[in-house]
Amino acid sequence: MSFDQNAFLIIITAAMIAISCGLLGVFMMLRKMSMTGDAISHAVLPGIVIGFFISGSQRGLEVIIGAGILGILATLMIDWLRRKARVQLDASIGITFTLLFAIGIILINLLAYKVDLDQECVLYGEIAYLPIDLWLTKSGLNLGPRILYLSLLNLILVITFIILFFKELKVTSFDENFSKVIGIPAGLINLSLMSMVSYTTVSSFEAVGAILVVALLVVPPATAFLWTRKLKLLIQLTIAIGIGISIVGYYLAYFFDSSIAGMIVSVAGIGFLASALFKSKSFLSRFGTSRTSVSFEKTV
């Protein structure tokens, strides 16, 4: 098989997005904020639309700023609902993200004359167009696919963020009270994590859509957590899974002629469920490696 440049570009970009999301997702999962991550990736939609609208047809900084603001707004809204209005947490999350997402959809329809976003694209993106959506500089130089660069930048920033604040993220995720007592600005760390998630969502949504970003945030870390309890290994495994599902997902999507992002997620899903089955207590006790142990716990 000859080297397919387009396939390579798409897979690389998908892998980078999967890695960015996975890295952030590990900490979201450890903080038990997976659903908040889900909420944020829905909530940034109005910010994206307004950013598109303001910047005309140039997609750029305005969109990212718009999403960042919305991400923070969503976090603040959830917090206000929970603390000031005294609404329970799961309802606060649900109400906030559905409202913001609804506003986003309405805006897409209202501003359709100027904003060329379509509803489906928002949900699952279309990374297949990646190779033809090129970054052409003023002098006409073809630097390659635009989204590739966006994802690369995103990945670099996410990696930097995680390395810089690794110990703060670790301690605030494990024991928030203790971290506050030793003087770590837990609230700020939380807010910056949420902001990174918003930024990553917006950076990736053109390729994989808002909703599938959630899958990439949640599923690889969850799968990895089924296999290991060591943090370093957890992160490495998440990265490996991210790369793996991008490759397999692409080729399967090609074979079935379906959405690439959707297929990547489906592959991740199969991996996740298979891991869960393999690692589940009943499976292990029935087919487990230690044959000498009596299977007194037959089923869960």
């Binding site: 997976s34 309802a91 909703i211 379906s258 991740a268």
Partner: protein, 426 residues
């Protein structure tokens, strides 16, 4: 304006069906969702809504068209599978609940997207109808749809109403239910079935992504108005129905607008109004209660001041002196004086304020409560005499007559407080 009249007088029978449909869907979802909300598992509904997508697609593929029977069955199986997997994952792995819900939600949805795009590429003209399941399009509800979906909605509402006792046990105290012999496992399964059903019929109007709002928001909003389950559920249903009709109206007037988002917007507006303005629980109401309370405490303090004046042989106090006692609270003091005069607790003689006879007993009561409480804090709680004043100052306005009696008897009808001041009685 014409549109408005046309819409709401149901001149067009298809509109009538749409409105009936959306009211039934909305109410059914609100009913089930409210129980989910009380169970603190509101986001499970969100997961199920996303999870039905693959089932819808499979149903469509098998039927070759938008056949309600196939679609509902497919969606139901898909939703049931998701629910089953969620509880299985909960029991068999050490993943936290939110991670499980988020995973199931996105995996099923991703798979649904795969199927959806395959269908789209197959060029089947019928598939335009499928898109409506993602964002909702109430206007597309046909008469035949109403009978099926409406029927299911009525079934859900009836089920929840008839078995209100069982379901409320499930939500509040399943262990107790089990202990008194109710089949809680069965009830849980039934509830999940109703939840999945309501999702399946609700997404017609509002779409997969926003379905969670139809489940969570009505109940969350209604919760602020009442503590009684029966009223709560009916109120949630009403909110849902209103938002549904308004959202549909917008879809009717602006045809390219999907219904779902507008229903959510109206629901959220109702919710916000509830959170802010509901009596007792609303933000505004709590703020006002606090303000009213603070104003009462200020009036009480003023009465106390006058009484202390009498104890110091000053039958009345000049207004200026009263203002001095409450620095930085000029308007507050003026208001209190006004209110107290109106209630005939004080009389004003030129520039001097005096207590009336009713004022004097009231002032005496407050001073008594204050000093009794100080004594209690000091004697029973070892609190130093110079620290008891502040807490007593805050509590004197709260204590009821029964408390007063208790205090008196506990302290044995004392004569003096920790500062050696007289405890006044009639």
């Amino acid at each position: 304006m014409e549109d408005f009249v046309y819409f709401f007088t149901f001149q067009d029978p298809s509109i009538a069906f749409v409105v009936i449909g959306i009211i039934l869907l909305g109410v059914g979802s609100a009913y089930v969702g409210t129980y989910s909300f009380l169970d603190k598992k509101a986001l499970l509904g969100d997961a199920i809504s996303h999870a039905v997508l693959p089932g819808i697609c499979v149903g469509f593929i098998l039927a070759g068209e938008k056949n309600p029977l196939f679609i509902v069955s497919g969606a139901f199986i898909s939703g049931a599978l998701a629910t089953f997997l969620s509880s299985w994952l909960n029991k068999s792995t050490r993943l936290s609940e939110d991670a499980i819900i988020a995973s199931i939600l996105s995996i099923f949805f991703g798979f649904g997207i795969v199927l959806l795009t395959i269908i789209q590429k197959s060029g089947n003209p019928e598939m335009a109808g499928l898109n409506q399941f993602i964002f909702g399009n109430a206007i597309a509800i046909l008469e035949s749809d109403v009978y099926i979906y409406g029927g299911l909605a009525v079934f859900i509402i009836l089920c929840l109403t008839v078995f209100q006792k069982e379901f409320s046990l499930l939500v509040f105290n399943p262990d107790y239910g089990r202990a008194i012999g109710f089949p809680m496992g069965m009830i849980r399964v039934t509830f999940n079935v109703l939840l999945i059903l309501s999702v399946v019929i609700g997404i017609q109007a509002i779409g997969v992504v926003l379905m969670a709002a139809l489940l969570i928001t009505p109940g969350a909003a209604a919760r602020f108005w009442t503590d009684r389950l029966g009223v709560l559920v009916i109120l949630a249903g009403t909110f849902s129905a209103i938002s549904g009709v308004l959202g549909t109206y917008i879809s009717f007037v602006i045809p390219q607008m999907p219904t779902g988002p507008w229903v959510v917007v109206f629901l959220s507006i109702i919710a916000l109004i509830s959170f802010l303005f509901a009596p007792k629980k609303g933000v505004l109401s709590r703020y006002l209660s606090r303000r009213i309370y603070l104003r009462k405490t200020h009036r009480d303090h003023l009465l106390k001041l006058l009484y202390k004046g009498i104890e110091a042989n000053k039958p009345g106090l000049p207004i200026a002196e009263i203002h001095e006692a409450f620095p930085f609270q000029k308007t507050q003091t003026k208001q209190s004086i006004g209110n107290l005069s109106k209630d005939k607790f004080i009389t004003q003689n030129q520039l001097v304020i005096e207590l009336s006879s009713t004022g004097r007993s009231e002032a005496k009561r407050i001073v008594r409560l204050h000093r009794l409480w100080e004594l209690y804090l000091n004697e029973y709680m070892n609190i130093a005499p110079d620290h008891v004043h502040d807490t007593a100052e805050k509590l004197e306005h709260l204590l009821s007559p029964e408390m007063e009696e208790l205090l008196e008897s506990r302290l044995n009808f004392p004569k003096l407080d920790p500062h050696q001041e007289n405890i006044p009685r009639d």
